[in-house]
Symmetry: C2
Subunit: 392 residues, 2 copies
C-alpha cells in the first residue's frame, strides 16, 4: 500500500551539502524559512523532477534553517512521486487535499502557509522567490503571515547552484554523451526527400534512448531550422521535406536527472556555399578563442569578447550573446556570456557556449559546446566533431 524510494540521482550527502549552502545564505539574509517555488531550485534541493503539476499548480519546497531536511508540499496525488523520487524522509513530504486544485481564491499556497504557521515559522524572516510567483501569492503571504518579514530571494538558489559539484558534473557528462549521440544521429537521417518531422522523430528517439547504457530522463528542447529558415533560431521544425542544397541548423540537448547539456551543429545537404563555409571557419576559430580564454578569474565578458574579436577579424559580426550557464535550467538566470558581464569564472561553473549567429533574416549558422570551468581552463563536455556536416 506504500511506495518505496526509487533510484536516487545523488546520495543524501550531496543534497544535504546543497541545503547547507542555502542555509548559509539564509543566515546571511536573516531568513528563518525559505519558500522555494522555482522548479529547477526544487529539483536541486530535493531531487524532485516531476513536472506536469509543477508550474501549473501552486506547490513549494520549504527550507527551514533549523531543520535538517526541507519539506516538500505538493498536491495529494503527486505525494507518492515525491516520496519515490526525493531524498526526503516520508514525514517531510506533505500532500495537500485535492480540493485546493482548480479553485478560485484558495490554492496550494494556503497549504504552504498553514505549514509555516504550524511549524512556528510565521513570525520571522521569510524568504520568497517573488519573481516566480503571481503577485497575489506574495500578497497572500503578507496577509496571512502579517508578522513575517518577507525577503525576495528570487535568484538566491540559482547563484548557489551555478557552481556544480563533481557529482553534478558526472551527470552532465552523461547528458553530454546523449547530446553527442543526437547530433551524430542527425547526420545519418537528414537526407533529401525525408520529412523534417521524420528526421526529428529519429533524433528525439535517440535523445530518449540515451548513450552508453544511460537513457535520457526527459525530452530536451529541440529546434531544427532549415532553409529558408536558417535565419531563425527557435522554430521546432517545419512540415517541409529536406531538399538537395538545403542547410539545416540543429539545436538539441541531452537530459539526465533534470540536468541539461546543450549542443548545436549545422548540416549542409550537398556542398555548402562559400559564404557558409567561411562563416563556419570564423565561428570555429571564435569558439576556440573563447574556450582558450576560459579560466578561473576570467570574466564572462572576456570569453564573449574573445569570440567576437576573432570572428570579426574573419569577417563576421554576431549581435547576440555567446551563451549562458546551463544545468537544471537550460538557461540559468544568473550570468551571461556577453560583453560587459563581469561575473568571474570559477571552477565547475558550466556554460552553454552558444554561438548561433543569425546574420540575415534568411541566413544563419549554429555551433555550440557545453563546457565546465576547470582549475586552469575549460573542459568541453560535449565531443561531437566541430564540423559543418555535409550530408546527403
Amino acid at each position: 500500500m506504500t511506495i518505496g524510494r526509487g533510484l536516487q540521482a545523488f546520495p543524501r550527502a550531496e543534497y544535504l551539502r546543497r541545503v547547507a549552502a542555502v542555509k548559509a545564505e539564509m543566515a546571511r539574509l536573516d531568513i528563518h524559512a525559505l519558500v522555494v517555488n522555482n522548479a529547477a531550485n526544487v529539483a536541486y534541493l530535493s531531487g524532485y523532477t516531476v513536472s506536469g503539476s509543477w508550474g501549473i499548480l501552486p506547490q513549494a519546497l520549504v527550507v527551514a534553517i533549523d531543520k535538517e531536511e526541507p519539506t516538500l508540499i505538493v498536491r495529494q496525488s503527486d505525494a507518492p512521486a515525491a516520496i519515490h523520487q526525493t531524498f526526503l524522509e516520508r514525514a517531510n513530504v506533505i500532500g495537500f487535499r485535492e480540493g485546493l486544485v482548480g479553485k478560485q481564491g484558495v490554492d496550494g499556497f494556503d497549504a504552504v502557509i498553514d505549514f509555516l504557521q504550524e511549524a512556528g515559522m510565521a513570525n520571522r524572516g521569510l524568504g520568497v522567490e517573488v519573481s516566480y510567483l503571481p503577485p497575489q501569492t506574495t500578497e497572500k503571504f503578507k496577509a496571512r503571515l502579517p508578522k513575517a518579514k518577507i525577503i525576495d530571494c528570487t535568484k538566491a538558489v540559482a547563484w548557489i547552484r551555478f557552481i556544480k559539484s563533481d557529482l553534478e558534473i558526472s551527470v552532465m557528462r552523461e547528458a553530454a554523451a546523449i547530446a553527442d549521440a543526437g547530433i551524430l544521429r542527425a547526420a545519418e537521417v537528414i537526407r533529401p526527400g525525408v520529412r523534417e518531422a521524420d528526421a526529428v522523430a529519429e533524433i528525439v528517439a535517440t535523445l530518449v534512448r540515451g548513450a552508453n547504457g544511460k537513457s535520457g530522463t526527459n525530452i530536451p528542447p529541440i529546434y531544427l531550422c532549415s532553409s529558408p529558415r536558417t535565419g531563425t533560431c527557435h522554430i521546432r521544425w517545419s512540415e517541409d521535406t529536406f531538399r538537395d542544397g538545403s542547410q539545416v541548423n540543429l539545436e538539441l540537448g541531452g537530459s539526465r536527472y533534470g540536468y541539461y547539456v546543450g549542443l548545436m551543429r549545422t548540416y549542409s545537404i550537398g556542398a555548402p556555399s562559400d559564404r557558409l563555409r567561411s562563416l563556419h571557419e570564423a565561428e570555429v576559430a571564435g569558439l576556440e578563442a573563447a574556450l582558450e580564454t576560459v579560466r578561473p578569474g576570467a570574466t564572462c565578458s572576456d570569453v564573449a569578447n574573445a569570440f567576437y574579436r576573432t570572428s570579426k577579424k574573419m569577417g563576421f559580426n554576431k549581435e547576440s550573446r555567446c551563451g549562458y550557464p546551463i544545468g537544471i535550467n537550460w538557461t540559468e538566470p544568473t550570468a551571461s556570456l556577453q560583453d560587459g558581464d563581469m561575473t568571474e569564472l570559477k571552477p565547475n561553473m558550466t556554460f552553454h557556449l552558444m554561438l548561433g549567429n543569425w546574420i540575415d533574416e534568411d541566413f544563419g549558422y549554429v555551433i555550440s559546446e557545453t563546457f565546465r570551468v576547470t582549475e586552469s581552463g575549460a573542459e568541453v563536455l560535449t565531443s561531437a566533431p566541430r564540423r559543418l556536416f555535409e550530408v546527403g
Copy 2:
C-alpha cells in the same frame, strides 16, 4: 536577404476574428491597449508558437483597440521566425536589440514600453497580464507609464479562447489522431524485457511523425508510470525494464500548431489483477456517464459528479478533479471539471476528461478522452479503444 511567410495554421480571417473578440472585451473594460505575455495567448492571437526565448525572455504582443493587427515585439534574433510564422504584416513585427538580453535592470519590456509611448498608448487604459509577469515588470509599467490606467487582464484571453472555432476543432482532430497513434504504438512496444526509455523513444517518435500524413508540430508531454509507480501521475519514465505482471499507466498527447489533445490508457503486461479489472470497469462506466451528461447548459460540476457517482456505485472513489479545458495550453486556466464548478458548457468548448485515479501510494489507473461540446452532447475527438490493454 528577407524571409517569407511560411505555412499558416489558420487563415488571416480566423486570427482577425480572435483579435476582434479580444477588442470587444477591451472595449468593455475601457482598455486601449493590451500587453499579452502569456505564450498560449500570443499563439492564439498571432500564430507565433516559437518557444525557446518565450518564457525566458521578456517579449510581448500588443493589441491596440484601434489597430487592425496586433504588434509582436520580440528579440531581434526571433524576429525572422515571427515574420515567417505569424499572420502579421512585417511592419507589425518589431525586433528589439540583443543588448536588452541578459542584462540587469533593462529588458525587452523596456522595448514594449517604448513602443507604447511612441504609439500614443501611454495615457489610456492599459491591460496587462499581471499574474504572468514578475512584479517588478508591472512596477516598471507603472513607473514608466505613469499616466496609463493599468488593469489586470490575466485571464481575459484564456476565457475567450475557451470556446474554439470550427477551424480550431479541425486542428485538434488532427492532434487527436496523433495521440491515438501514440497509444496504439505503446501497445506494440510495451513488452517484458524492454527498457522503459526504449518504449518511450518509440512512442515519442510516433507523436512527432504524426498520423494521416500530418506530422506532430511539437513534442507533447509524456508520462509513463509503471509498477511500482502506478500510484504516481507525473513521473516521465524510469530507468527500469518492463517485467511480466507489470502495469503501465501512460499519459501522452498529440500536437498540431500549438494545440494539444491529451489521452491516457492503462496497460497490463499479462493478465490484470481482479482489482485492476474492477477499477477499469468502474472508470469506463464513469467516463461514459460523464460524457452522457455533456450538453450545452450542463455545468462542469454536473459532468464531474456523473463520473464520481457512477464510479462510487461500482466501489471506487476518486479524489482529484475530472479534467480541465485543453487547447493551446494543456491545462487552460479557466474552468475545472470538478464538484462545485458551475461553469456552463457551451458548444465548441474542449476538455481533457482526465480520469486518472491514484488510489493508493502504489496503485492507480488512468483513462481519459479529449472531447468537444456539441450543440446537443459530446463529440469525443480521440478514438483509441477504451480498453485495459493486455500486452506481452
